[in-house]
Every structure is written in structure tokens, then in C-alpha cells.
Amino acid sequence: MSQYVLRRLLIAVPSLLGISLVLFIVLALAPGDPFSELATNPNVPPEVAAALRAKFGLDDPIYLRYLHWITAMLHGDWGFSFVSRMNVDTLILQRLPTTLYVIGSAQLLALMIAIPVGVYAATRPYSIFDQIANTLAFIGFSLPTFFTGLLFILVFSITLDWLPFVYTTDIKATGFRWVIEQVRQAIMPVMVLALFQAASMTRFVRSAMLDVVRLDYVTTARAKGLGQARVIVKHAMRNAMIPVVTLVALQMPAVFGGAIVTEQIFRIPGIGSLLISSILSNDTPVVMAVTFVFACLVVLFNLIADVLYGWLDPRISLR
């Protein structure tokens, strides 16, 4: 098992390097030059501009610039945000916990909806319940998160006035009230993300279960006289969850996309809304760093899924 984890780690490193290379090439190919203003400014002599370019290595060949950039990133030197007036890494570390909190609770809730519904639908394929669940799942992942977000605000904040629609970090309450407020304001963003995720997960769970319940060992379990609940939960579900883990990990890029949108709608101070605001204010170091953090998170979750996969299915890690 430890060897398997190590091998997976060694696969994750090249893909991170590949992603960083893609990001760097994109930045290098983009029109615009950080020193273009210096070149046109009559107060700056050309020699000074050239010296500055040489100092920051702007005229170096592209592979040298990439090496400089990647070593700086590895050393934790992520640049300086011109807008927030602080180092990019501290800025991101401030925002990251909120994003992970919202995404994490949404994923948990989605699993809590998708697994029972998907399993139940698969045990009664083509029944009324299955058809309704299928249609709802279809509608669920066709509803874009920005529209569900607005609908939720319209229904729960404006019409019913139950929930606040702006997320605040400095809630003016202490103790138990603080916890309640914290949960109350997270309900809508988490629901929006979770329903979107649950829709596609339900389909995964259902088809994975359908594949498993046909297998001989399930029939054997039934023939032994085990009850339906025991057969489904103890025998079939355990194996059906294995492919679901991978599919959930493959969904991670879409989850982050959804998180950016929900953070923007509900004004959650996470890294998604940081990305949007720094794009709108031309804060390039922050934009690059946040994109890179999202890429790292995707690779990290793929790694976790791989490790889980090996743990759930020992045949994988032996190979």
C-alpha cells in the first residue's frame, strides 16, 4: 500500500509541473508587457528601462524565465498584490479556508443525497421512483449554478425572508448565536453547490449499483437467505462505491467552477471571488497564483481519490 501511495505521488508531480508549464506559457504568450509603460514614458531613459528589463530577466529565453518562476513559486515567493498591498500567499491563505469549508460541506451534503437516492433507484430500476429521480437529476445538472443561486435568493431571502443572502466574516454575535448565524448564512451557497453535484453523483451511483447488483456474488448472498437491506448495504454498495470515488474526483474541476460562481453570487470571501475581483482590477500576480492554487487542489483531490481507490479495492494497489 505505501508503495502504491508513493507511486501515485510520483505521478502527481509531473502533472503539477505540466499544469504550471501550461499556465506559464499562457502568460508568456499573452500580449502586453509589464514594462510597456516604461518604454513609452519620456521621463525614463531607454538605458534605465533596458537595465530594469535585464534585472528582472524579461529578455531571458523562455525556459530560463520558467525556471525562475517555478523556483520562486516553490520557495513560497508568490509575488505581491498591487491592489490589496500584501503578499499573495498570505492573501490566499486568508481566503482558502472559507472556500474549502463551503466546497467540503457541499460535497458531503451531495453525497448524503446522492448515495441513498442512487442506491434506492438502482434496486428498483425503471420504477416510478427511479424515473422521477432520473428526471430530477437530469434537470439538476442542466440548471446552471448561477441561476439556481439567484432563484434561491429570490425564494428564501426576498420572498420568504428566511436566510441572509450576503455572507459576512464578522458576525456580531458570540457563542451559540455565532454558530447559528454561521450555519444560516452558509445554507444557501452550500445547497446550490450540493444540489448541482448531487444531480450528477446520483447518476454515477445508480449506474455503478446497477452494474454490481447483477453480479453472481450478490445472487449468492440472496440465496444464502440474507435480507434485502443487508445484501444491498453490506455486499453490493461496498463494491459499487469504488468507481464512484474516481468519478467524484473527476468532477472536482467542475466543483471549483461552481464554487467561483456561488462565491460571486453570495459574496463569500473565498479564493473564487478573489480571482474575479483581481481579474477585474488587473492584479496579475493574484490571478496567476489563484489559478495555480485551483490546479493544485484538483491534482490533490485526484491523488486522494487514487489513494482511496487503492484502499477500497486492494487489487489495484497490488498491481
Binding site: 499544469i19 502568460l27 500580449p31 435568493i153 474541476p253 467552477g257 480571482l275 490546479a295 487542489l297
Partner: protein
Amino acid sequence: MAGLTLASPSAERRPAWSPWRETWRRYRRHKLAVVSAVLLFVLIAAVVFGPFVWRVSINDIDFNARLEGPSLAHPFGTDDLGQDILARMIYGGRISLAVGLAAMAVSVIIGTLIGALAGMSRGALGHALMWLTDLFLSLPQLPLLLLLIYLFRDGLKAAFGPEGGVFILIVLVIGGLRWMPVARLVRAQFLSLREKDFVEAARALGASPLRQVVRHILPNALGPVIIAGTIDVAAAIIAESTLSFLGLGFPPDVPTWGRLLFDAKDFLDIAAHWALFPGGAIFVAVVAINFIGDGMRDALDARRVI
């Protein structure tokens, strides 16, 4: 689509039981898919022919009719400048649907090319291409989409004008980040098809690799590509609307459906109709296209018993 007829030359000779008719028979069984096809057809007809019927300008400002709900004069109501939302939605729908179709074309073309190359090569090229595909699959799509638009927007705006430049950029970027599923499908099909006897026969008769691919392998691999392409249209419409909703898509004077939602979101409490109509249009288009894709899966997957 035309490629499929190549795969079935018997279509002309046996009109009683043609593969096309069989496909249609299987598609018809999926009731929701048929309803969706009609809905999508109505939607397309509305945005294409709408301006000839509903002759209200999208830019007519009328401060006497600000934020009005639906009425006879303005069936979908008006926005904060008194502009007619129906007219703006017809105009924006053209762009949203055009972006969806064009981005789908881009992703299907790139995906088919890469998948075919990877499926035909027996050496390092195939492995390298699949590594590239996996790399692209683990890229965070929306952040990268935003980054690319942020970096290249001004350059393309200068080259092709504000509307055309953004259109080209959005189509290329969305298509360029969604080709991976198509590439994987095409490669998997090619790997099994290239060993089939009919391809062997073509090879023995001296068909060049290009001819083998274009005449014999590709037409048989098209089914999954058509399904994936259909779903790609829906995904591209969502991607474009998301960009516009974040305020980073088309310029403010181009009212795509996502842009209308972006403008409407601050007036939800007093003018909910402004957000509901464009949001509903996005939803209807996307759900219809997804159901059509589902129906196509039933229709084109011959192994599936219906």
C-alpha cells in the same frame, strides 16, 4: 452527420429498413427527447426569425417604462433603462446558441484529430497525446477560462472589434478546453476498429492510412462523437453564460442571456422577471439539448436494447 450515411451505403437500396429509420425509431421511444427536440427547434426558430416578427430595438431607452413587469407592450417586461427584454433576449439568444454550436465544432474537431492520431499511432505519439489529454482533464476549467480571457481579451478586441474578437476568443477557449472526452472516445473506438476485418481488408487492398481512417474507421466511430458533441453544446452554452454572468464575457452592450442575468441580479427584489426570463431560457435550452443527447444515446448505441 453526413459521415454516417457513408457507413450505410445500403440506405438507398433497402428503403424498407434503413439504419436511419431504425435510428429514428429508437430515438422516438425517448418521449422527453422528442419533446426536447421540438422545444429546441422552437427556441432556434424564435431567435432566428424573432427580429422579423418582434420589431422592437434592443437599445430603445424609455425612462417612463423602467423595470416594468410583463405587459402587452413588453411581453417579458423591461430593464432598468426601460429596454425591452424580449428583444434583448432574442438578440442574446442568437449569440448564446451560436457560441454553443461553434465551441462544440471546435472541441469535436480538435478531439477527433487528437483521438484519431492517438488511436492510429502504435508508438510514443499515442502515449504522449493521451498524457496531454489527461493533463488537460485535470486543469481547472473555469479559472483557466477566466485567466485566458483576462490575458487575451484586449489583443483580440483590437484585432477583430469588440464583439467579433470576444466571440472568437470565447469559442476558441471553451472549445479548446472541452475536447478531451471526445478525444478519449475517438481513441477507444479507433483502437478496436483498426483491428477489425473490414479495415484489414481495406489495408490489404492497398488503402492508404488516411483513406482507411476517413472512409472506413471514422464513419463507424461517429456515434459516440455525435452524442458527446450534443452534450458539448449544452456545456458550452453554460460556460458562456457563466462568463457573461461573472461580467467577463461579452461587452456590456451585447445582451447575451448570461449578461442579462448579470445585469438583473442587483434588481432581484423589485424586478424578478428580468432575471427569470433569461435564466429560464438558458435552462430550457440546456435541458433540451441534454435530453436530445440522451435520446441520441438510445438511438445510436446499437448494443442497447430498447
